[in-house]
Symmetry: C6
Subunit: 278 residues, 6 copies
């Protein structure tokens, strides 16, 4: 019966590996200090799980705006831990599930984890898992409660340890729902906010040629400010969005690409600064 349990766990693990890799499709570019800070703090928590007998359960919440790279960073942290049991909980695998089925599946993943000595579970996009929608503050209370209880439940076998890494773009909502305080620790996962951040990503992508970079660079050489003849706005763009904008721009014909990118980036920064001030 123990053998059986192992059998059940193994193949799922294989599937998981693929899933983790797809999350970091474009790698982890080291675009600035926030990237290194987050990875270092995360590693300390991984150590705590391994070494402390008093805290067999440690949970971490990565919070940041949409498209800021939360999922990729959570996945990378999980893979780096080298724990023998890693799992990914995401709504993408539970589309069209009833609330009850979703609770079942989530609690099954945790139950499997308790059987392993060292486990890490990524819980991606909590607001999506609980079907949150701002209109009327709707959400699935049963999934929320399931998560709250599991985030506070120690593995029941002595010596077994569990690390949970969750992500969210709605920290305020999670606070209102009372799930925010359940985490052992939280770390910020911010947008790129300086011209140099953006430039280092563009260079790494190698999407634009010399000439185009020459056109783009001046607009991004004013620290936290994006400056063109028509725009002057604080820089704020998520790493995932930045990849999308660059790829859109390069579809234009040769001469227009640099300009198109500046136009798209300016609009994105304006939208983000508007949402922050609102």
């Amino acid at each position: 019966d123990f053998m059986l349990a192992l059998d059940e766990v193994q193949p799922a693990f294989g599937v998981s590996q693929d899933q983790f890799k797809r999350c970091v499709l474009n790698g982890i570019v080291d675009w600035g200090p926030p990237v290194g800070d987050l990875r270092k703090d995360g590693t300390l928590l991984v150590q705590q799980v391994q070494h402390s007998s008093r805290t067999p359960l440690v949970s971490l919440l990565l919070e940041g705006p949409r498209q800021s790279g939360k999922t990729a960073l959570a996945a990378q942290l999980a893979m780096d831990s080298q724990f023998p049991f890693v799992r990914f909980i995401t709504t993408e695998d539970m589309i069209a599930y009833s609330d009850a089925a979703r609770c079942q599946k989530i609690s099954k993943v945790f139950a499997d984890a308790y059987k392993s000595q060292l486990s890490v579970i990524v819980v991606d996009d909590i607001e999506r898992l609980i079907d949150y929608v701002p209109v009327g503050m709707r959400f699935s209370n049963s999934v929320l409660q399931t998560l709250m209880v599991l985030l506070n439940k120690k593995p029941d076998k002595e010596g077994h340890k569990l690390f949970v890494v969750a992500t969210t773009s709605q920290p305020t909502v999670l606070r209102q729902l009372g799930i925010y305080d359940v985490f052992s620790a939280t770390l910020p996962c911010p947008n790129l906010s300086e011209g140099d951040h953006v430039l280092s990503v563009l260079r790494h992508m190698n999407a634009f040629d010399e000439e185009e970079m020459a056109l783009i660079t001046p607009a991004l050489s004013h620290g936290e400010q994006f400056k063109t003849e028509t725009d002057d706005v604080k820089i704020s763009v998520g790493i995932k969005k930045l990849f999308m904008l660059a790829e859109m721009a390069v579809q234009e014909e040769k001469g227009l690409r640099g300009l198109k990118f500046l136009m798209l980036l300016g609009a994105e920064c304006r939208r983000n600064s508007f949402q922050t001030s609102a």
Copy 2:
């Protein structure tokens, strides 16, 4: 089992073709610059899907007033892409479905698409798919969440690409629901707003004779203004509505048709200007 999958997909594809054609029953009349702009921008996104390996999923939202031609334009864009897998998701095929069945069907279409290397899915009239009604802001949250997750989920087979084109006449509502920001890009699909726009459609329809056109033309020769002895109002009419009004007018007996058309068009423009100002 791969063969089977193909079998399942093919016939549905055949059905889809017919459905796409019915959406453009009256063709795509090039009544003014907005038509060409929208088609060009759409084509660029199609290219991005084909060529970029960093963005395997691109999604576009066409937003415009009721009857402005959104469905026809989305269908045309999909057909023009020449992608081997095209599908149409519309509430018309899911009447009297439960929420759960609707989620199932939608996610089935996406699952099929992931199996094809290049796919395009039209998601028509999002507000209808989620059973939105303004009174009490009611809507199906489960369908909404299903769409939100699918619009953010990359095909899981490496190298497979997906293009999603959605339509809506309720962009403000979609923004409140948090689904608006999930799209890679949005494009406007406006009403006809100048006399020349209307005249070029009437000419293309060939519904009125010389004499009738002579009666109609003066009212439509003041740029954005509709002017008759009794009316002076901004021109605003959707292409689909315009076809309906013209066809109603021509049922009248010979001498009265032109007048009837002006009367109907005037009432429509008044209604639309009223709704905008309200």
Copy 3:
């Protein structure tokens, strides 16, 4: 399989005929201009359906106060069209149905209609079909959405045409629900509002004798005003209510009938004027 479809449709058609006739139990009395106007405009739309290839679906909404004769006029219009497929959708045939069953039945009628080349469907009393109640603005959203989609869905066979005639006594509510704008056209079905209107119905009914008419007539000889010694109020009574009041009055013994009718009519007009002003 086509034969089968025909079989299914025919008998139901027979049933429908009876139902249509019961709706005009007391005929269509030509009590004034509004009656003729409505019937003429309705006929033009019937022609459009028959002749236009660009608008295979035309929908009409008859709106008027309770008991104003909406159902009878819609049924008459449908019978006059002489279309081979006519159907009546009414809550009376769906009592104690679940929402889902109601949606099924409605969509079945439309599905049958699509199979016929020329069809007309009467959708009676939309507010009743959607279980509308003003307290708390309750209604069946699933039935509403089903209707909204069907009122916008063209027959899928090429060349097939469909005419839908719906009725309502709650146009304001339908507007709030967003279904009002879906109709191709709307026509008013008003109450009787002049003394002559009422007198012509009484004469047609032949319910009162000479003497009684002599007593009644003076109160109804002041245009839009109902005037007796005790009453002076605007005339407003639905044709269906008028039949009910006249029949109540004639139960009284000989000498009291005329007076009783005036009393009942006065009370009704007061009630209606009160509701309008409120």
Copy 4:
């Protein structure tokens, strides 16, 4: 199959007779003019049903405060009609039924009635049938809608007639729900409001002896006012309540009965006057 239908109907009819009689357990005491008025007007409507071919469905609503005798009067009216088919719809026979079952049962009674040429149905206590509760204005919308449709649906066999008598103690609520206006006519069923009304009931009951009546009478000899040394309040008591109070009083030992009755009646009138003024 017609035979079968008759079989189904007959036994239920038998049961009904008993039920009708239990409703008038204490007879119909003619305590004042309102009793005679109501019975006469009711009889006229019975005649209309029998004689008018233009109004095959007539419906009457008896409205009055709690315990005012509504059920007894509705039952008596139905029995007096001598129609071959009489039925009683009351929540007492549908305790612990689901909404759906309740709708089924109600519509079954109406369906049976349509088969008979002359039918009368008593629909007792509409607010109870729809599970109305003032807190949060809760009620069963499905039962409400079922009633609204049935109260407006003519028997489908030609020449068949139906009379519906309903009762309510919540006319204001019924008006808000939109079911009030569906009735052909409404009649008031008031509380006893004069000393003579009360005295004539007490005499009819024969519950108090000479001496006791001598004590009671003075308090009830001031028209609409109840006057004792401690009380001076408008008289208002339902006939059903009055029976209860008198029976309570007579349990006291001999000398105290008259006083106890006055005390109980005074409290009841105070409560009622308070509720009216509130």
Copy 5:
């Protein structure tokens, strides 16, 4: 089949007896006038049920604060009636029942009662039976409606009589829900409110020795006021709570008991006076 019915009823009756006795575990202490008054008025109603043929159903509501002894008094009244059929309806026997099951069970008890010539049913803690909670005024409307109908439904066999005794600590809520007025009579079941009331219970309990009583008595010798060096507050404590406080106090070691009791009683009185004034 009649035999069967009897069989079903008998054993349950046996169970009921035990249940009734457990409700008066600590007897009925005659701590002051309110106890005798309530028992006498209750007895009169029992007589009415036995003797009146005009009121085959009489219902009584005992209303008082939490822990004031309502359940014990209702149970005692039922046992004293000596009616052959006595039953106890309490949520304690319906834990984890669905609403529907609860309605079924309640109506089954009443149905059984109708079969017996003289029956008494105790309906304990109405607010608990209907799952009432003040937050959002939630409650089970189906159970409420079931009770409202049953409290107004006469036994259907001629000559059969039913007495219902219900209890509540939420009379205001019952009034808002409209069930309060359905009762034939209501009686108050108050807290102990004078020092003498408390002292007579303590003496009856015999929980404290002479010395301890000497310490306690002074604080309770000021009529309605509880007075110690630190406290001066109106006396208000339920009989059930009083038993609990005395038992808690006697767990302390010898010298501290009297003081502990005063401390606990003072706190309770403060809490109650606070709730009343709020």
Copy 6:
């Protein structure tokens, strides 16, 4: 059948023992007077259950902030009672249960307890058991009602006694829900609030070496105030959180541990003082 009952109970009991021990994973450190007070008062109640025949059911509520050690203290109290039947009710054992299943399971535990002469049940984290969430004040009313009834239900076998110990971090909410007043007694379970409290825990843990303690101690030598160069805030930290913070700090490399701990503790105290003042 009695044997069977015992069988059912025994094994579950074994499981329970383990569960109780896991709750006090880090023992019960006597960090200050509140710890001793609570344990002494709890013991008195245990005695009352054993000795009083008048109060066969006694219930206690431990109320304190999150992570203050409530669960551990409740578990310890239950184990100390040495009662033959001990059980633990926690949401952790009912994840993904429906409301109904949860009610079933809870009432099963109580039903088992009634069979034993002396029982203690720990009901952990009431707000979690009822799925409470502050947004919209949502909770499971059926679980709440089940608890309210069970907390007031005496064992039905004569002489059997039950002690219930519950915990909550939401006493205000429980008061609003009306379950707070159902308990026989409540005891506070506070956060550590003085420097000495914290120091005595750190010493007991032995997590920091001499040097590190020398750095930490000054900040904690100002009574209720936490003072560093950058911080001056009231001390408030739960015992469970304190263990977590200390374990996090010791992951840092040697020289940084003391500082890290001060930083983490300062942030926690600030957060708590903020929440109290808000």
